[in-house]
C-alpha cells in the first residue's frame, strides 16, 4: 500500500509510524524546517520530504502519480483542501482522506474539493467525550453522520 501523508504533526507522524510498523510504503511531507528536523529522530530519512505539498513540483518529486492513498493531515484546513484538490484533479490519486481541523469547515471536505473521505476530529472527540459522560448523551446532542463522510 503506497501512502503519502501530508503534515508531520502528531496525527501524521502517529499514522506514519503505525503504517511503517506494519510494512506499508509511506512518504511523509512536512513544510516547517524546524519540525522536519525533529521528525528525523522518529522516522527514517528515506520516508521524509521537507517541502510545501501545495506545490505541484513537490508532489511530483515524491511520485504522486503512483500514490494509492493520500492522507492530508496538516493542521491547516486550506492546505489539506488544496493538496486534496491537486492530488485528485491533477494527478488522479485513487483515494484522498483529509483531516478537518475546524468543524466550521467540514462542509468543504467533499468530492468537489477532491476529498473522498473526511475525518472531523473535533466532532469525533466531542462525541466520544459526550458518550463517556453518558452513553445516551452522544446520540442525543449530536446530529447523525457529521463525524466522517465515507
Amino acid at each position: 500500500m503506497n501512502t503519502l501523508i501530508i503534515g508531520g504533526g502528531k496525527v501524521g507522524v502517529y499514522l506514519a509510524q503505525h503504517l511503517l510498523d506494519h510494512g506499508h510504503e509511506v512518504t511523509l511531507i512536512e513544510s516547517r524546517p524546524e519540525r522536519f528536523e525533529k521528525l528525523r529522530g522518529d522516522i527514517d530519512d528515506k520516508h521524509l520530504i521537507c517541502g510545501d505539498a501545495a506545490d505541484p513540483l513537490v508532489l511530483e518529486r515524491v511520485g504522486i502519480r503512483s500514490v494509492e492513498h493520500l492522507v492530508c493531515a496538516t493542521g491547516s484546513d486550506e492546505t489539506n483542501l488544496i493538496v486534496a484538490m491537486l492530488a485528485k484533479m491533477e494527478y488522479g490519486v485513487r483515494q484522498v482522506v483529509a483531516r478537518v481541523n475546524n468543524p466550521k469547515n467540514a462542509w468543504l471536505f467533499t468530492p468537489v474539493m477532491g476529498v473522498d473521505s473526511a475525518v472531523n476530529q473535533a466532532d469525533l472527540t466531542a462525541r466520544m467525550l459526550a458518550t463517556q459522560m453518558d452513553p445516551l448523551l452522544g446520540g442525543e446532542i449530536f446530529e447523525e453522520d457529521a463525524t466522517c463522510s465515507l
Binding site: A54, P56, E78, T79, I82, L86, M89, V112
Partner: protein, 220 residues
C-alpha cells in the same frame, strides 16, 4: 455587476474601491475588521468580518447572486480554496485568485481557477520596460527568423526625422503612422513628432538595428 472581494489588503481594498467608484455592487470580506478602514468613508459597499471560506460570510456577502469573486488575501492556499468554493459550490461565473507563487499558477489554471500573480506580473513588466518599453512585437510573420511587425513609440532619437529615413531596403520598412488618433499608411515624407506611434515591419535579424536607430540600444 455584483462582486465579492475576499481580503482587504492593498490589492483587495484597491479593487473594492475601484469597483465601488464605477458603480458596481461590492461586498468585502476580511478576518480583521480594522482592514476595512482602508476603504475610506465614501465606500458604499458591504463589509463582512469573516474568513473567505466561511459559508456564513460568503452567503452574507451574497455569493449566491454574485457575478464575480476575487480572492486576494495574503495566503495562496486560502485564495485557491476560496476560488474553488466560489466556482464549484456556488457557481460564481467569474472567479480570480491572487497567487504569490508563480510556479503554482499553471496547475491552478487547469483546475479552472484564473490567477493573478502580482510578483510575476511585476517581474514581467520590469523586463518589458528594460527591453521593449518603446518597442513591442505586434505580430510575428513566418515561423522562426521571419518578419516582425513592431509597434514603436517615437523616441527622442526619432523626432525630427522623416519616416523614410527609417527604411532600410530588405530589412526595415515603416508601415503606418498613428498621430492624434488617426492612422495613415505610407506617409513617408512626414516628419516624426513626439507622441507619434509607428508600425514598422522589420526582419527579425534587423530588430537590433531598429533599436539602435531609436536610440534605445547602444551600438556596440
Amino acid at each position: 455587476m455584483k462582486i465579492i472581494v475576499v481580503g482587504c489588503g492593498r490589492m483587495g481594498s484597491g479593487l473594492a474601491r475601484a469597483l465601488d467608484r464605477t458603480n458596481h455592487d461590492v461586498a468585502v470580506i476580511d478576518r480583521d475588521e480594522s482592514a476595512f478602514e482602508s476603504l475610506g468613508s465614501n465606500f458604499r459597499g458591504l463589509t463582512i468580518k469573516g474568513i473567505g471560506f466561511d459559508r456564513n460570510a460568503l452567503i452574507k456577502a451574497g455569493i449566491e447572486r454574485s457575478d464575480g469573486l476575487a480572492a486576494c488575501t495574503s495566503s495562496d492556499d486560502a485564495n485557491t480554496v476560496t476560488a474553488r468554493i466560489a466556482r464549484e459550490m456556488f457557481r460564481v461565473p467569474t472567479v480570480v485568485a491572487r497567487l504569490y507563487d508563480p510556479d503554482k499558477a499553471d496547475v491552478y489554471r487547469r483546475l479552472g481557477i484564473q490567477t493573478i500573480g502580482s510578483i510575476s506580473w511585476a517581474v514581467k513588466r520590469a523586463l518589458e520596460i528594460f527591453s521593449y518599453s518603446k518597442l513591442d512585437v505586434v505580430e510575428s510573420l513566418g515561423s522562426g527568423g521571419g518578419v516582425e511587425i513592431l509597434h514603436v513609440a517615437a523616441t527622442a532619437a526619432l523626432v525630427g526625422h522623416k519616416l523614410s529615413e527609417l527604411n532600410i531596403p530588405g530589412e526595415i520598412k515603416v508601415v503606418a503612422l498613428e498621430r492624434s488618433g488617426k492612422t495613415a499608411i505610407g506617409a513617408e515624407e512626414l516628419t516624426i513628432e513626439s507622441g507619434d506611434q509607428l508600425y514598422v515591419a522589420a526582419h527579425a535579424s534587423s530588430v537590433g538595428q531598429l533599436r539602435a536607430l531609436m536610440g534605445i540600444e547602444r551600438v556596440r
